[in-house]
Point group: C2
């Protein structure tokens, strides 16, 4: 198969020769289209890297069900945890079904790799993990799904959870998660002891939800960086949200960034609406890997979201006050290359020998694609069209 | 014509009898569809009020032109004013064309009324006004366009602008605008003197861009409220952005809200990405009319935006940390009824005798429509379909 007249991110127009699902050659397009039977002419459409969602909750979404008004009694993380327990108890449709609805929607929008957090607590046990493992298996040819065993109800304050997290890894989860060691669990050392012990024993990475803001949040980031170095997990630890970095002065943020960079701790942001966004450009300048994710999509936490990572890049750029092209390119990098590096996806990138995975859109540049979020003309995986005009065709 | 099986915002299903472009009757849908030749069956789609954009810049947009990277040298309002002057000087396509591109796009997304600010300064004179007056005339059967003569380069610091603003009103602008009386113009009293004098003499309303934050911005809001009462313009003055309200403590915001409510000064927000959002729910509770607008759309100021006011309601809700249905309904009200009241659109609302103006979407409730921003199935004006599935058909 030949993908003809594709414009790449660097502005060059190419014909892409695809053999066995991989890129066999990137030919200059001014030579004309070679005589060949199977030609897909993109007529100058922009060919993007496949999108990567660094933070999704496949087990939480209620996508495809009738609208359920948010029921949290207050505005704190603890209120939302409680509200979600009620929604979960009242649920009659399995998470496999709603999570599958979401996977279909995100693949149709061009996402071919994702990291999903999955709730593990002493009420649920490993039930949600089993549902998401089924989703992963069901969609294995379409999308790669990395799973974080996520202690949504805390570890210290929810006895038995540490053992469940460990068991989750044994059953197929890829990373161990954490949650506000101070704000929810009330014990920084005990929380980090628990999750880093599992990470070391199982030799897996860590991804910690940290909503705690201000100097308290910064102290936790510094402790996480320190623990990462001490356990030899450099490059395998991420902190999701890290609102604290957006709520302190620039000097403090820069100093914390240096510690995170030194420890190889990555920072995930979804471009929060009601909380401060970490200073993405500053973090990047200081060597911190920043990556993007959807976070909650139409679930007990949030009514918003749709899993479109090009729209997420827009939201990251909008919230970070990005306006220049190099800034919009950073937002795009957060939902493509940077997220792929954090997730450890080695088979990634538009280059000879790489996978024939692409997203085609009508846009003049990556910056324009982020700002305008055009409909996905084509999503191509392994040289096969899997979605057309935003609709899954497999 | 009969619009059959429409679900209204209150959840009731109705047949809507349309005669002469107006709503002749709202019939209960359980009676079955009356035998009639011209029936448009919505099959349970949600019928929304037409959307209202309370703040757009039809003359600034570059929509439809090749992507132009942002060129501002810095991150201040003054840097962006300077960058825009350069873009304007290099422009070869008339504002009529790009503004018309935007009008077509916004009508296709369900907006039937808008307030456009139009740059007036001593370099431009009334050139942009003339372009937007042409746009208004061209689209007069499709959309109502209210025009604010907007001193983008200041009034005091840009000698001659006050006379130009006055002339703009004489030539057809509907309101006089203002811009950061302190931050840009450097003279609160002189700025307010200039624009309120014109408003009084011409008997028109006022809409002031206020980016200045903190206590300084609050002092300007208080001065605007005071001046509004003194000039008898209660209910005819709006402040756009008012970031200051989002950057002070709750007591200060509440006290300022009381003064604004007492003076009948409305507050416009576009759900800013990089600046604080005013506390929308608090303002509303204190009796302030809060309304929404797009602000910049793909112009020298911002690469973002598309004029979709349902998406704007989402952005307002997202930034305001809204999650509950009543909050999402407030965001919707900001881009429908509240904006219509501020713009003085009397012929508005889904009721017997009212205009047959509607937007049909697939959603179970207004809250869901805001969160999900579904494609516009139909946009109907005066009983006629003007857009279908997001595409203009007139």
């Amino acid at each position: 198969m030949l993908i003809a007249n594709a414009v790449l991110a660097d502005g060059t127009k190419r014909h892409i020769d695809v053999k066995g699902g991989r890129i066999a050659a990137l030919l200059p397009a001014d030579a004309g289209v070679p005589a060949q039977t199977d030609v897909l002419d993109l007529a100058g459409a922009l060919l993007l890297l496949p999108l990567v969602d660094g933070h999704i909750h496949l087990d939480k979404t209620l996508l495809g069900l009738p609208w359920l008004p948010n029921q949290a009694a207050g505005n704190k993380v603890a209120d939302r945890i409680e509200a979600e327990r009620n929604v979960r108890a009242a649920r009659t449709v399995p998470e496999f079904e709603t999570g599958s609805n979401l996977v279909r929607q995100v693949v149709a929008s061009g996402t071919l790799h994702m990291r999903s957090h999955v709730d593990v607590d002493n009420q649920l046990g490993l039930r949600n993990l089993h549902e998401v493992l089924k989703i992963r298996e069901h969609f294995r040819d379409l999308v790669t799904i990395e799973i974080v065993a996520f202690p949504q109800s805390g570890v210290v304050r929810s006895p038995g959870t540490a053992d469940l997290l460990d068991a989750a890894i044994a059953e197929g989860a890829d990373l161990v998660g954490g949650l506000d060691p101070v704000g929810i669990d009330g014990d920084l050392k005990a929380h980090l002891d628990a999750i880093f012990t599992i990470a070391e024993r199982r030799s897996v990475g860590v991804d910690i939800h940290l909503h705690d803001g201000g100097e308290g949040g910064i102290a936790q980031l510094m402790a996480i960086a320190e623990r990462t170095v001490a356990t030899g997990l450099k490059g395998r630890v991420a902190v999701s949200h890290a609102f604290a970095l957006g709520s302190v002065d620039t000097d403090t943020a820069a100093r914390t960034a240096d510690a995170l960079a030194n420890a190889g701790v990555a920072i995930m942001s979804h471009g929060p609406g009601g909380a401060p966004i970490p200073p993405l450009a500053l973090l990047r300048e200081h060597g911190v890997e920043v990556f993007g994710g959807s976070d909650n999509i139409r679930d007990a936490w949030s009514p918003f979201g749709n899993g479109d990572m090009l729209e997420r890049a827009m939201m990251l750029g909008y919230r970070a006050n990005f306006r220049h092209d190099h800034e919009l390119q950073l937002a795009f990098e957060m939902v493509t290359g940077a997220a792929a590096r954090v997730l450890g996806i080695e088979d990634y990138g538009i280059a000879v020998g790489g996978p024939a995975d692409f997203v085609a859109v009508e846009a003049g540049s990556v910056a324009e694609a982020v700002a305008a979020r055009p409909r996905r003309k084509l999503v191509i995986k392994g040289g096969k069209i899997v979605a057309r005009d935003g609709v899954l065709v497999v």
